[in-house]
């Protein structure tokens, strides 16, 4: 009896904790949604209403009507997916190598990866723009995708390596004993078990690319990504527009996370839905 009540107390405690964390993480999201959908005057009142009493889609509409939002959206999706493919293609094999082989120069290699991430983009962007101008890639989505791939590569390599480390080598070897080639063993045995890590890396790559402004703004001119088109110029717009822009940019990234979450929770997948 007492054990059961202890278990119940525990369950209640866990729930309370979950609710508390959810409130902390969720309330700011609620507030940005509220602000984005409030009328311009209501944002100027004090005290501000914490409930959706004065809703208006006016600012949202003006924002969505402004030139370049559709093109920018298309470019952002393109850049995001391109960076995703590139960084997984380059990063997953490297992550596997870092996890499995204690090769000489492993540590320098990891530091080398971090180099592009450790230097503020503003310092890199002008020399990089010059490289792209010279190679004719300037003002294309490819240039931005290349930059974002470089920014995401350390995340991809390191996260996937942490996951590959946890996949027992024995499984792979067992598959090879049963006649699978090394790539087959990797694809059939290791990859499925590493899916959560790959999903996590994919989420980061896409989200990094989706939200990156500073580099994208320097590398393009007429073919902007959505945040470069919107966020940077919104800085000078009235508050209501900034909220609308910030909120509008959140939505596609949310859809992407909702989609990738399934792979991330792969192992618990049978119980968490």
């Amino acid at each position: 009896m007492s054990r059961r009540s202890a278990a119940r107390r525990r369950t209640v405690g866990i729930h309370l904790a979950c609710v508390a964390v959810t409130l902390f993480m969720g309330v700011p999201i609620y507030l940005i949604a509220l602000a984005a959908l409030s009328s311009r005057e209501s944002l100027n009142r004090f005290p501000l209403s914490l409930l959706p009493v004065d809703l208006s889609t006016e600012t949202m509409r003006v924002f969505l009507d402004s030139t370049g939002v559709i093109g920018g959206f298309q470019n952002s999706v393109e850049v995001g997916l391109l960076s995703l493919i590139l960084s997984l293609a380059l990063g997953v094999p490297a992550g596997y190598a870092v996890a499995r082989y204690a090769f000489r120069g492993r540590e320098p290699y990891q530091l080398f990866l971090l180099l592009t991430r450790a230097l503020p983009i503003v310092v890199l962007s002008v020399p990089l723009a010059r490289v792209f101008l010279a190679s004719g890639l300037y003002d294309t989505t490819y240039a931005v995708a290349l930059l974002h791939t470089a920014l995401a590569l350390p995340t991809t390599v390191l996260i996937t390596s942490a996951i590959f480390v946890a996949v027992p080598v024995e499984h792979e070897e067992a598959a090879m004993i049963f006649g699978a080639s090394a790539p087959q063993a990797f694809a059939r045995v290791v990859l499925p078990q590493a899916l959560p890590g790959i999903a996590a890396a994919a989420i980061f790559t896409f989200v990094t690319s989706w939200n990156e402004v500073l580099g994208a703004a320097v590398l393009t001119l007429n073919r902007r990504t959505l945040p470069a088109q919107v966020l940077s110029t919104l800085a000078d717009s009235p508050l209501a527009f900034r909220f609308a822009g910030g909120f509008a940019l959140v939505v596609p990234a949310l859809v992407f996370i909702a989609f990738m979450r399934r792979y991330l929770l792969n192992m618990w997948g049978t119980t968490i839905r």
Binding site: G71, G72, E78, S125, H171, A174, P192, S237, N266
Partner: protein, 450 residues
């Protein structure tokens, strides 16, 4: 096999297939789209020229200016790109350095062009051709950056004024006229208003990271108290001015250090009186113009110091469409278009044009305040640093540092001024330029703090 992988594996196969599908779709996307991405500025239009600008970045202003370009520029389509000043700078730098210029026309403030004098075409001949526009000489001369050659042609001008919510007028000291205040009256006013407002400050300055408060010191406070900007930087009158600033700051809303523009705190009613750039004030009275007064800046012992903001148009060296860009400059400097810009976006004409009577109320309020300010008795015109090039920002930073150390950190005024003057002279010695107004202008003499 791994036991804990088993329950998931039927699912996994499906997942992999989906991943593959996602991968294929993603791989195809770039090929479906036009090569290298979709245009976000309308540059796809046949023969459109690229116009990069630091002006009209707010969404609505950009939309209105794009409309003006479509309606009024007959020489062809213009793709209007608004960028932050740093992107403007790095775009011009990298394109000119790489010898592959894609920008045909650049629009920006004097300060945006100043660091890049050598990267733009000489527009002397165009300036001659446009003599009928009658640009005021002090404005036209600002554009002569590199060795007297015309780097940019004037595009628009603006200034800074006071915006006052009429609720604050009840605390105005007796005998003071809001349209011609002195700095002492301003201080007395905001002190009384704070007392009357439940000890909440009512005065605000744009001291945020993107705020233009350094222009208050460079163009208003110091010229009004000392009659100069640079030469008198650390004299006894400047010390008085900064002492005054310290007292003013004590009555100013502390949240000012977060304000980049004043129209929003004014609209919110967070402050009732504010000084700022006209374009950053214009939305405050937009809804209820009858509740607002716009007034010239206060005057000091040496007169009414005020600053002129000038935006210009320039053509990058090696631009692909020089002739079309020139045609756009001609179109944008016609009196008609200039007034259209004033009406819609509240930037003032740089050409000789009669202000129409049908301006929007908020713009009309500003136009009147700007006119009074310029024509006030003892008006002292101050210019933003001239000819400093890349050092422009660093000179402004010196004034911001003075503010930080004197007003925020409470350091002794004269000590701070002496130390910052040293820094300022180090920068000026490197730049070797003559002084600019309101300091005595003498060609060939290097401007220095006395």
């Amino acid at each position: 096999m791994a036991p804990h992988a088993d329950p998931g594996s039927p699912d996994l196969r499906l997942d992999r297939r989906r991943l593959l599908g996602l991968g294929l779709a993603a791989g195809a996307a770039p090929f479906l789209a036009a090569c290298g991405g979709a245009s976000t500025t309308g540059s796809d239009t046949e023969g459109a020229i690229t116009f990069i600008s630091t002006q009209f970045t707010p969404v609505e202003e950009r939309q209105r200016f794009e409309q003006i370009l479509r309606d009024r520029v007959k020489s062809g389509a213009v793709a209007y790109n608004t960028v932050e000043p740093n992107v403007f700078s790095s775009t011009i730098t990298s394109q000119v350095a790489a010898g592959r210029v894609q920008v045909s026309l650049a629009g920006g403030l004097h300060g945006d062009f100043a660091p890049h004098a050598d990267k733009f075409e000489n527009l002397d001949d165009l300036a001659t051709k446009l003599a009928d526009r009658q640009f005021p000489p002090e404005i036209a001369n600002l554009g002569k950056l590199a060795g007297g050659a015309t780097t940019y042609l004037p595009w628009m001008q603006a200034s800074y004024v006071l915006a006052v919510n009429k609720r604050a007028l009840e605390w105005l000291p007796s005998g003071a006229d809001v349209q011609s205040l002195t700095y002492d009256q301003l201080l007395a006013w905001i002190t009384a208003a704070r007392r009357g407002n439940g000890n909440k400050p009512v005065f605000g300055l744009p001291c945020g990271p993107k705020g233009l408060y350094h222009r208050f010191f460079q163009g208003y406070l110091l010229p009004s108290f000392t009659g100069g900007q640079m030469t008198t930087f650390r004299g006894p009158e400047a010390a008085t001015a900064w002492q005054y600033m310290k007292e003013l700051w004590a009555q100013t809303a502390p949240a000012s250090t977060n304000f980049d523009n004043m129209q929003e705190p004014l609209q919110r009613g967070e402050v009732l009186i504010a000084w700022d750039h006209v374009a950053r004030l214009v939305n405050a009275p937009a809804d209820k113009p009858d509740d607002w007064v716009m007034a010239p800046a206060p005057r000091g012992p040496k007169g009414l110091g005020y600053m002129l903001v000038v935006a210009g148009l320039a053509i990058p060296r090696g631009a692909p469409e020089v002739d079309r860009a020139r045609a756009v400059i001609e179109a944008l400097t016609t009196p008609d278009v200039q007034l259209e810009v004033l009406r819609r976006n509240a930037f003032f004409p740089v050409v000789n044009a009669q202000l129409p009577a049908d301006l929007p109320p908020a713009v009309a309020l500003e136009a009147e305040a700007v006119r009074r300010q310029q024509s006030a008795e003892g008006a002292v015109l101050a210019l933003p640093p001239v000819g400093l090039g890349a050092k422009d920002g660093e000179v402004s930073q010196i004034f911001k540092n003075c503010f930080k150390e004197i007003c925020l950190d409470g350091r002794p005024v004269q000590q701070v001024l002496d130390r910052q003057a040293q820094q300022l002279n180090a920068i000026l010695d490197e730049a070797k330029v003559p002084c600019w107004r309101p300091d005595p202008v003498a060609a060939g003499q290097t401007c220095r703090v006395q």
